[in-house]
């Protein structure tokens, strides 16, 4: 019965060398810089948002215009929007530069191809269903399985790295009147300035959900050991 914790086809695939670090130094460093910059982006973004917690679709929107939806928080003027803005963009620079280093090294070292690209046999409905079931039951992964990413992890990581983050940068830049003076299509294909802002918000929700699930899974798999692995590189089993 203990075997049900393993996802067949993923679990035991031969012994993995234990002297090899679980995460390369570059992945570890960029992971934590990325985590810090995400906290900064989120806090700064909330700081900006609380001055106008209301969303629109199309080009324009404001007090007196029909909104798409309102967040159940009051309009808060002064204070948070100012430092929120500075914190948001400074963190954005750290996040983007850090992300570019991570991307370049991930491509050069074939980290994405070797460790994150899902195997064809794992992309079957049966395999995916089993993985989802095992996750929903919050089953603890086995030792061997902990050394490689499972199919849901791979899909989630790839989506965040190659879809959600680029979308956040895109929709962020689409809200810049200076950037769109050079590349107007950045905002027009999204349907307008307010659409870009609304998509940026939903991207944030997706990233926050990802982080919550990510931390929950790390906790379930053994918080100290997994976080330790992301700091020192080894599991210390």
């Amino acid at each position: 019965m203990a075997d049900s914790a393993y996802i067949p086809g993923l679990a035991v695939r031969g012994a993995v060398a234990f002297d090899k670090p679980r995460h390369s130094a570059l992945v570890r460093i960029t992971h934590w810089i990325g985590a810090l910059s995400f906290i900064g982006l989120l806090a700064g973004g909330i700081g900006i948002l609380v001055s106008h917690p209301r969303f629109y679709w199309g080009e324009t929107g404001g007090v007196g215009a029909p909104s798409l939806f309102d967040l159940p928080v009051p309009f808060m003027l002064g204070g948070p929007p100012g430092w929120g803005r500075s914190l948001h963009f400074q963190s954005a620079w750290v996040c983007v530069l850090n992300g570019l280093v991570y991307l370049a090294s991930g491509l050069a070292s074939r980290h994405f191809a070797k460790d994150l690209a899902p195997a064809k046999r794992d992309l079957t409905w049966g395999s995916l269903r089993r993985a989802v079931k095992s996750h929903l039951r919050l089953e603890r992964p086995g030792e061997e399985q902990a050394l490689r990413y499972n199919i849901l992890q791979r899909i989630a990581y790839l989506l965040v790295i190659f879809v959600v983050f680029p979308l956040m940068v895109w929709t962020g830049l689409a809200m810049s009147p200076a950037i769109t003076s050079v590349f107007p299509a950045l905002v027009t294909v999204l349907g307008g300035h307010q659409s870009a802002r609304t998509i940026h918000f939903f991207g944030t929700i997706a990233l926050v959900l990802f982080v919550v699930v990510h931390i929950a899974m790390v906790w379930r798999a053994g918080f100290r050991r997994r976080v330790g692995a992301m700091i020192t590189g080894t599991e210390g089993i």
């Binding site: 404001g62 100012g82 500075s86 963009f89 809200m175 009147p177 003076s181 050079v182 300035h193």
Partner: protein, 253 residues
């Protein structure tokens, strides 16, 4: 083997850090020469402010135009933030229909001058239908009519050492632009909005309109413009009253 590897790593690491510091200093000198360092480049947020300003300045050309819209896209509601100054001299000028109002231009110009509202309206008018995007997140589209700031700058003759145009309003929210934005064809001293006189709430008698930056750079209730080589001696030296409230001097994003 592993110890020689780590030593090599240490040496190359040390070299790249030293090279990085050297390169950074050289880059800073170069950036300053090409006007890529904003007045609020110091302090905690200076790195982000500088990177944003430098990158956007490299990316935008003096002729890249903020998006313009059709008349049909003009917003039905045009929200404002802030109210017109409640005190004199503004209230007195407002009561007199701005008949006694003049916009003065001084500093690093060949011929300091001041202009009445009627004089500004006699110059070639420039109209644009652009967006006003507030930092808070809301936005609207309106048509602004006015005289291009570049027209007035040509009249007074900007001296070559000038680097910034500084705008002083009646409400204390003074601000400044670098000369790329000051000379930009869409930078307008606006006296009309949506075919009518500019309403007091929107900055009567004239406001600046800088559509390539966020709304707060479009200074309302203009009173005086001065040209200067450095922002160090004005206010707290950060280029605008905005950084004192936590907002960036450059607001292209």
């Amino acid at each position: 083997m592993s110890s020689s590897l780590s030593r090599r790593k240490l040496i190359t690491g040390g070299l790249s850090v030293a090279g990085g510091a050297d390169g950074l200093a050289a880059a800073a000198r170069l950036a300053d020469r090409y006007g890529l360092i904003p007045p609020d480049s110091g302090g905690v947020w200076g790195l982000g402010e500088t990177l944003t300003y430098a990158c956007q300045r490299i990316l935008t050309s003096p002729l890249s135009m903020a998006r313009e819209f059709s008349r049909g896209e003009i917003s039905k509601v045009a929200p404002v933030s802030g109210k017109p100054p409640k005190t004199d001299p503004y209230q007195g000028l407002l009561a007199g229909g701005f008949g006694g109002w003049r916009l003065s231009i001084d500093g690093l110009v060949a011929r300091p001058a001041s202009f009445s509202l009627a004089e500004l309206k006699r110059y070639p008018s420039s109209a644009q239908i652009t967006q006003q995007i507030c930092e808070e997140g809301w936005s609207f589209i309106a048509e602004w009519t006015g005289v291009a700031l570049s027209h007035v700058l040509k009249l007074v003759g900007v001296l070559p050492q000038a680097k910034y145009a500084v705008f002083f309003p009646f409400d204390g929210c003074w601000d400044s632009l670098d000369l790329q934005d000051a000379w930009h064809p869409q930078t307008v001293i606006a006296y009309g909005m949506n075919g009518k006189e500019l309403p007091p709430d929107h900055g009567a008698p004239v406001r600046l309109k800088v559509p390539r930056q966020l709304g707060y750079k479009s200074v309302k209730y203009l009173s005086r413009i001065t040209l200067t080589e450095t922002m160090k001696n004005i206010g707290t030296g950060l280029g605008s009253s905005q950084p004192d409230d936590g907002y960036s001097w450059y607001a292209g994003i």
